[in-house]
Symmetry: C2
């Protein structure tokens, strides 16, 4: 087996999305057991000018779908950021999972030098596919997933790092 | 350019270590400006049974050095976990950087199927190199880096996601 752009993206995103979904499910169970409205957890932040949990989850999905699509040379689908419940966020994770899983290795492999143009702070920024995946997309994907985890741990949800890294 | 095990590990770890070092430097400036002992920040946690900032930083370096060494087929160096000051933690990050940067592409490339044995929960766990890097090492590396960032943001240190992802 040789490392490829597909191997370093699609299965990694799928695994991360599955882990996130399981973490969100544990958060919902935690809330139900304590008769807390799950929306309270979804609105929690680590600091007032950071995004709440709901937005962190949306961003995890955005990096998964956006990265896979751009590496494959297609325009990422736009998702409206309208989820306000655990069920809606789980549906967004599932929709993202289906989208990402729909790409074949042939569509993503060989994208090391494919030009990916992002708009960052209103300015176009051109990446090569490999740099984009390794130094932009994966750090962002994990950043928002780990921040979601941190928000939940900070609020007393019983999670362990194995929930984040996933079973193997 | 074709994606390789070296490309997906060594430059990624070096970039993450540099970003962490810059974040820790900003935390130290923040503490100095407010006449707060930086050790207060190093002892902060997101929850009582999570690791404090100092340990999160140590773990980022552990995943960087351990992963690179194991992919190259050598025994990782042991670092004593004795750092209690910002200066000592910065020295550990720098020492790790030097160690990781010392590996050549030839030492790491081709390690996709190399067997890596970890002891997890007292039990041996055998990974193939590619699975180890993508599904264990990188998620852990980013988990501890993002948690370090989250601890500092939660305590009011002015950081932005660009500090985490790095300049490009």
């Amino acid at each position: 087996m040789s490392l490829s752009m597909y191997q370093a993206s699609v299965p990694v995103f799928l695994r991360g999305l599955d882990n996130l979904s399981a973490i969100v499910a544990k958060a919902a169970e935690h809330a139900a057991a304590r008769k807390v409205d799950p929306a309270v957890l979804l609105g929690c932040r680590l600091y007032p000018d950071m995004f709440p949990l709901s937005r962190q989850i949306q961003l995890v999905t955005d990096f998964a779908k956006g990265t896979t699509a751009r590496l494959a040379g297609i325009e990422p689908p736009k998702y409206e950021d309208v989820e306000t419940t655990v069920e809606q966020l789980q549906a967004r994770i599932a929709k993202t999972r289906d989208f990402v899983a729909g790409f074949s290795a042939a569509q993503v492999d060989g994208s090391e030098d494919r030009e990916v143009t992002l708009t960052i702070g209103g300015q176009p920024r051109v990446y090569k596919g490999q740099d984009y995946l390794l130094n932009f997309a994966l750090p962002n994907f994990y950043f928002h997933a780990a921040t979601a985890y941190g928000i939940l741990r900070h609020n007393g949800v019983e999670l362990g790092k194995r929930d984040f890294v996933g079973r193997s």
